[in-house]
């Protein structure tokens, strides 16, 4: 099949679908390759989907996209073995005509998104793994080899939307393989419960949803995060920690998930549920410093494959969609002035992305990954325990004079981490957050 396309998009996840849709709806001849039986069959997300970034691609997505619940409440929990200390934010303002955040189920959402891509005019080939980039004598990427018989396809530009563990970019030397300290492995289960039960347990009605994110001893001193998101008739529950931390501690992700499910604060929320799937997936966590070269002769790279993931805010799909859309817009601009898809011309993608929230946000937190990684036992173990101790001491009424209680709490913090350690953690955290 010797056929020339304007663009080949490798991958039909969030970034690939955004890119393919944007390109095809501007009339470009687009081929999209997806190795899964159907789009979404390989993809895993929490999943919170951010409306603003999808609206910029498909403004009326609410008409038919498979959305689970719109979020009205978010809880952030700091947990020790028997307790959680929480910050909850709930607002009726989130019950708006066009809600801002929704929970979704990725396999269903990706199928919908892919239908839109096909309606926009792109050719989508599933069950097709791209195995290699094809380059000309000057090293320019001119196409993709696939595992279909005779399967070399050619295009002016290849959009690598192959996700965090994509093989093409790394094998072609366009980017390095992620390092164990720049990716987290997350495991997740789908717990099914009747809609009314979820409503009662989380105090939500109708399509309202609630999400919980949790740090603390559930990650056993590793840098990690647990989450529990409400869908219409199910709860997505999972936990992820850095791969380097797992390798060093030899903890098992599935055992961690089971322990989290048994935590006294979580257990009642999922009691009686039927588990219908167990999934695992990497999450890019290296932040700004881990972003590879984003463009070259005949290629651009978008989404998780480019480490465009904001681990601090648990945002990934929106950065993926935005980078896919922006890359497509850059390609359309280059094509519209009859420019070739050279490195110099495709630099426009980076210029446009630098100007968006994607790079601005990642830059803001550029020092966070290193800080949380090197101090993981303080942030994920000592401080959560101390916080629980302090809260419990404050709440228990046992005849101890209050002044003594306060002294004990302060002493507990200093014993655990030294005065200097506390100050330096606070300063470094503040600097990294700035």
């Amino acid at each position: 099949m010797i056929e020339q396309f304007d663009a080949i998009v490798v991958g039909a996840g969030m970034s690939g679908n955004a890119a393919a849709y944007t390109l095809a709806s501007q009339g470009l001849k687009v081929l999209q390759l997806e190795r899964g039986e159907y789009p979404g069959s390989k993809n895993v997300q929490g999943a919170i989907m951010y409306a603003n970034m999808l609206e910029k691609i498909i403004p009326d997505f609410r008409d038919d996209a498979p959305l689970e619940r719109h979020l009205v409440e978010q809880r952030l929990w700091v947990m020790d073995d028997t307790s959680h200390t929480g910050i909850h934010y709930r607002s009726d303002d989130f019950n708006e005509a066009k809600p801002n955040r929704y929970t979704i189920i990725r396999a269903q959402f990706d199928k919908w998104f892919s239908r839109k891509v096909r309606e926009a005019g792109a050719t989508v080939l599933c069950e097709t793994t791209a195995t290699e980039l094809v380059r000309d004598g000057n090293g320019k990427v001119i196409g993709v080899r696939t595992d279909r018989a005779g399967g070399v396809v050619f295009a002016n530009v290849v959009v690598l939307a192959e996700g965090v563990s994509g093989l093409l970019g790394t094998r072609a030397g366009l980017r390095e393989m992620p390092k164990p300290e720049t990716v987290a492995i997350a495991v997740k289960e789908m717990h099914f419960l009747p809609e009314e039960v979820i409503g009662q347990r989380f105090g939500v009605k109708g399509d309202e949803g609630c999400v919980i994110e949790a740090v603390g001893t559930i990650s056993r001193s590793m840098a990690g995060l647990g989450f529990l998101y409400t869908n219409k008739e199910s709860i997505s529950l999972g936990i992820g920690c850095l791969v380097s931390d797992f390798a060093a501690t030899m903890e098992s992700p599935s055992a961690l998930l089971d322990a989290m499910k048994n935590h006294p604060s979580i257990r009642p929320l999922i009691a009686g549920s039927e588990v219908k799937e167990y999934a695992a997936h990497l999450i890019p966590e290296g932040g700004y410093r881990a972003i590879p070269q984003l463009f070259g002769d005949g290629w651009v790279i978008v989404g998780d494959a480019a480490q465009l993931n904001n681990a601090i805010h648990r945002e990934g799909s929106n950065l993926a969609m935005t980078s896919g859309r922006v890359a497509a817009e850059a390609i359309i601009k280059v094509k519209s002035r009859n420019g070739p898809m050279t490195k110099a011309n495709l630099a426009l993608y980076k210029t446009m992305l630098d100007d968006s929230f994607v790079i601005k946000d990642l830059k803001k937190y550029k020092d966070m990954p290193a800080l949380l990684h090197t101090n993981s036992s303080n942030f994920f173990d000592s401080y959560p325990r101390l916080m629980s101790h302090a809260a419990q001491t404050f709440m228990r009424v046992d005849g101890t004079p209050k002044i003594e209680k306060e002294k004990n709490t302060t002493a507990a913090f200093i014993n655990a981490r030294s005065r200097w350690g506390l100050v330096s953690d606070a300063v470094r955290l503040a600097l990294a957050w700035r």
Partner: protein
């Protein structure tokens, strides 16, 4: 927690999942070795599908049928040459219903 205890539970978990196994064409291969490297050994715990196991000679073996293609083992062991890692052929492997 015993490894055996964990293993049974992981198998139970994987039982919920859908796979299309490409029989006779495993997508991950462990290179022959006498003694596993630290990272290869770690995979016997860290692989979320418990695909890696120690045999009685102290070598690490893989049965990739329950693999969820997460890539953790690739990140830890491809560079050092402990394993060879590929995606299954198009359409094969894990098929998430929800993801």
């Amino acid at each position: 927690m015993t490894i055996a205890g964990t293993k049974v539970r992981v198998e139970d978990k994987l039982y919920q999942n859908r796979y299309l196994v490409d029989s006779g064409r495993p997508h991950i291969i462990v290179r022959p070795h006498d003694k596993p490297s630290a990272n290869l050994l770690a995979l016997t715990y860290v692989c979320p599908a418990k695909c890696y196991e120690l045999n009685d000679k102290g070598q690490v073996e893989i049965t990739a049928d329950g693999c969820m293609e997460c890539g953790t083992c690739r990140i830890l062991c491809e560079k050092g040459g402990d394993i060879e890692w590929n995606y299954p052929r198009g359409g094969f492997g894990v098929l998430f219903k929800f993801g």
